[in-house]
Symmetry: C6
Subunit: 266 residues, 6 copies
């Protein structure tokens, strides 16, 4: 498929938190491999979409998982009427034609996936297609970006030191009160007053993190609740459906979160 | 196959418990990904069939299991007379043509299955067919629904936090006495008096939950017993066959359940 | 292959123990999924053959094992001169054409096998052929029967609660003295006196169950011994070959079983 | 391939120990499935070859191992110029054409292999070729024989109770002094005096079983030593090469075995 | 593909540390298999590129990983219009045509990969292509080089003794202050003063190794920081992005590294 | 491929240690399966090459590993223009055409590999090609030889008793001082004085075995050091590169080995 399908034609909404846009531009001008760190729903995927649009590069996103093989990234031979024909994988397409390749949650992938990117992330900037016997030199515009959620890292499943060292990193957290309120307003099309109340609720739930909750409510979950409110669901019910029920089945914990919601919503 | 094969033409019998129909309609109008939570036999599958009928959308149901691969959901190349031809999987069909895709017991599936749905459950609403090099944008009518049985969740096999956060949730439990009686009457075509007696028996068995029984009798099991009664099997025998023998092999536990049945049936 | 190959044309010999024939007929008339429970060699397979003959339905038997895949049950694409052609698996044949499908020792199978039967065992009565994109509605005569040996169930390998609840159950044990004597007479063509002596020996061996023996001698083993006797082998030797040597290699246990045999044979 | 390739045209040398030939003939006349039990090198394989010759049946031997699949036994589709063509596996050949199928060390095989033989070992005597959709009824002359080494059985890898019960068993041990001497003479073409000395050595080594040695010297190993002696190797050296070095690397144990050899050889 | 694609036409920048160039030349003149030992980012890959250029040999680099099979190295049959055609893998290409084959991080590979190189590393100098039935004698110019990071070796994953013995070894560590400063200057095009400050920072971070950090900053990471500085990013920010954030998520450790940076940067 | 490619036309240099050549000739004249035992680098592979040359038989060597399948040994069907065509594996070639098949480090292989050789190592001398349905009778000149390193045997990975018993064994250790000196002279083309000094160094390093070193320096490693010396590398440096660095990363152990080298080299 033409890489043009991966061009982002409309500006993706992104609310800048600090100097991350300038830092990414500096890194891209050096074609430095980048790692975006941060919890789920903190905007890493949206940021890379925004940067791809800003830099005018096609964006190839791959959601990594433990059953993904190197061939899923690099490409494979498929049987055609006239025999086997090589099909470039998403990484190879980006390497060849100068896109940004975004490997989402790379720590989930098997080692063959992470090793395959090594020669792309040092001075060689090449991708060996071993099964095809081809050595692809990266297009001058190609850049590799990975995401990484520190909260998930464990001894068993962490990036190898020799992989981490190949990336410079930008860190993401929850946005400020004002920023998050504006994001919820914009994405769910609710009045600022509703958005602000939901952001206060989120802050309460995030305080419960570590007291049984692995993570507090993300911005994405607030947008869910706000969209239900916008469709006539009562705020308490919307919070229950979007912030409480999906996250925990523990009755005590549910009560604690609901109490925090009630206070913040008041 | 045409998605029309998955249209539900007759109203599936569903007895509403609370405001779940209105909540689902609000969620669907925002195309919000939904999680149906609840124990086995509590009516989650029937509810989604009812909603698909009510909303006039085709319903593609996939029973997840630990040997299911992402290809089973997304599609694969098959060898034809003229070479390999791509065949859309059930998820891709629903995404392309605007159906509701219901992933039943998604927690059983391997990670590649759960990760594949991520880009469908955020603002992107796309499904990358990596093996085919195609990025399918979801039909405006497409919605994703998953089911989840909290009683089964364990440390080893639970949805990832980053997956849970993408869904709003509706919870299902056992229906009220009156509701369950009406369901048994309707489904098994037995007199209300028989149905009521069976529902009382079910309540007794549910009280034994935690005292050796992992779950009490479900509505489905009551319907089994009622159908045997309707075919001339004595109530005690029918309860034994449908409520006791399938559930436990422990002699003491069987006696306890039978005693509870005898009291409730009296 | 035509399902007719699976029609049972001669009455399989079956000695009824209690009301199991009537119960199965009631269940079949409701097309209720059935579970046959009981130890090895207790006649579950013979019973389902007898019922298939009695109900005039073809019987498709599948011996489950841990390397069996869902495709082995459901069907697969095979490469033909003109490309890939779909071949229905044994379950699909029974579903399409109205046979009884008997899944022997289903607990041995992998989860994808057990999950595949879920939509066949509730009100939907459909079998989704995901790889083919077809939704097969069960023939009105189709019934699903599974066998289950409670002695084998363990924490690691047991049916899921959500599977068990879908079946009504009939339980099998060792037949009565008279019944078993008649079975051995009929099957091995030995005089009643020989059969009776062997059944008494079996009773002794079954008393040792739990004292080192996992199961006592089954009816099938008695028939083996009887057939050897019918061919001129001495009773003690026949019992050794058919009842002792296959079951245990522990010298003390062998002596105990032989002593029990000697007493019972006297 | 024609099963005739598996006919044994010359009498395989076999020295009978007890009444095992008559017992096997009785079992074969009832087509009873047989289990040959005994340690390695005790003559189980030779016995079944002898019986196949004596009964005039082709013998299909399969050495089982943990990577063997049911398809290796039953058959598979192979791609030919005109598409896929079914090829019967060794078990199917024996079933169809009336051979004796000998599954050597069946306990090593995966469960799908052992389950595949169940319908062949009860009154059905059929082999379902699930992938081909064919139900092969066994040829009247077909018999199934398995071997089983009790010394190897463990909790993790043992035949299932439901498999063991399907077989009658004959047990093999080390032959008597005179019998073993004659076997060594015949097989290695050495004078009786040499053979006798080696058999005495074997007896000594077998006494060390349990004191570090898992098994003593087998008849096969004695034949190895005898053949080296027949080619001019000194008895002590021949024993070292054939009886000591292959079995243990423990220096003390080697000295113990060598001392036993020295005494017995004197 | 022609091995010429793997010729290195421009001298790769390499700053010699000791006598490693002369030693490698001596080893190459004896075609001795070589092992390059050292931590990540210590220049092993750059060294082998430099030597390949200096010796005028094509360089075939393979990044090893635990999912790599022997076929990935040696070659495989691929289906073409006219049937299966053999394609040499990267190792076979180097063996046949006289290249240097560099197996990077060989300890990550599965055993079949390491065993495949054995006959290439003793007097035989052959590569058996078992699947093709060909015995390739190595081209007189062929040499095998592997890399090995001692910091990663564990009991579970280490080279077998019988593999290690086949290689002579050269060891790599961090370069001297002057050498590293010159490398950073050259690679990132920054003034010597900036480079020197970064090298001092690296020394501080390397002192923290063992106090929570698995490895200190590598030369590669210094170059990342320097390149960001060259693009206008403040030194402290550049160090944070390139030296701190990618390496640790521990807040205390981050503070310690930042403090060390502040001191060294002053 | 013609087995002639595996004929050894030039006498491989082999320095005999004891009577192993005569013993192997006696064993070959009885076509007895042989096991060569000994540590890495002790000359087992060279010995079997020498014997194959001396006996005038082609030698097929297979380096076993844990990912090798029985098909890699026996052969497989490959897809050709006209369908699938059988290709003999290396073992089958040797069996059919009368070569010596040498399975190097067989203990590394999976069980299906070791079981496949059983019928070749008893009186049957046949190789069943189950997938092809062919029973290959071994050529009268065929012999099977395996190697086995006792130092590696563990409970988890050892040859089965029933496999070991099928082989007679010859044991290899380090050669005598004079023998090893002559080997190093001949292979590395260094003066006897240099070789002798290296052999003394090896003796010192072998004394450290058990004090941290798993094995001392092998003859192969001495040849490496000698070849570097022959190319102008100083003796101490050559020993470091060839004897110390490849073997251990422990600083204390390195010092101990270096001290031993210094003393022996003096």
């Amino acid at each position: 498929m033409a890489l043009n399908a991966f061009r982002i034609t409309e500006e993706p909404y992104y609310h800048s938190i600090a100097n991350e846009i300038a830092l990414f531009e500096a890194a891209y001008s050096a074609r430095m491999p980048m790692m975006l760190k941060g919890p789920t729903g903190s905007g890493k995927t949206r940021f890379v979409e925004h940067m791809a649009w800003r830099l005018g590069r096609p964006l190839v996103t791959v959601a990594c998982h433990e059953d993904m093989t190197a061939s899923d990234l690099v490409g494979r031979f498929l049987l055609d009427a006239g025999g086997t024909v090589w099909h470039d994988g998403p990484l190879t397409q980006a390497v060849r034609h100068g896109g940004i390749c975004y490997l989402d949650e790379i720590v989930e992938a098997r080692q063959d996936t992470t090793v395959v990117i090594h020669p792309l992330t040092d001075s060689r900037r090449v991708l060996p297609l071993e099964k095809r016997g081809e050595l692809v030199t990266a297009h001058p515009d190609f850049q590799l970006v990975i995401s990484y959620n520190p909260g998930y890292q464990s001894v068993l499943k962490d990036l190898k030191e020799s992989t981490k060292q190949r990336f410079a990193a930008i860190e993401f957290g929850h946005p400020s009160f004002d920023a998050e309120t504006r994001i919820v307003c914009t994405e769910a099309e609710v009045p600022e007053e509703v958005a602000a109340r939901l952001v206060r609720i989120a802050a309460s739930s995030r305080n419960l993190k570590g007291h049984g909750l692995r993570e507090g409510a993300s911005t994405r979950m607030l947008i869910h609740a706000a969209r239900l409110v916008a469709r006539g669901v009562a705020l308490a019910t919307a919070c229950d459906i979007a912030l409480v029920l999906p996250i925990t089945d523990d009755a005590d914990l549910r009560d604690a979160v609901r109490a925090a919601i009630a206070v913040a919503a008041a």
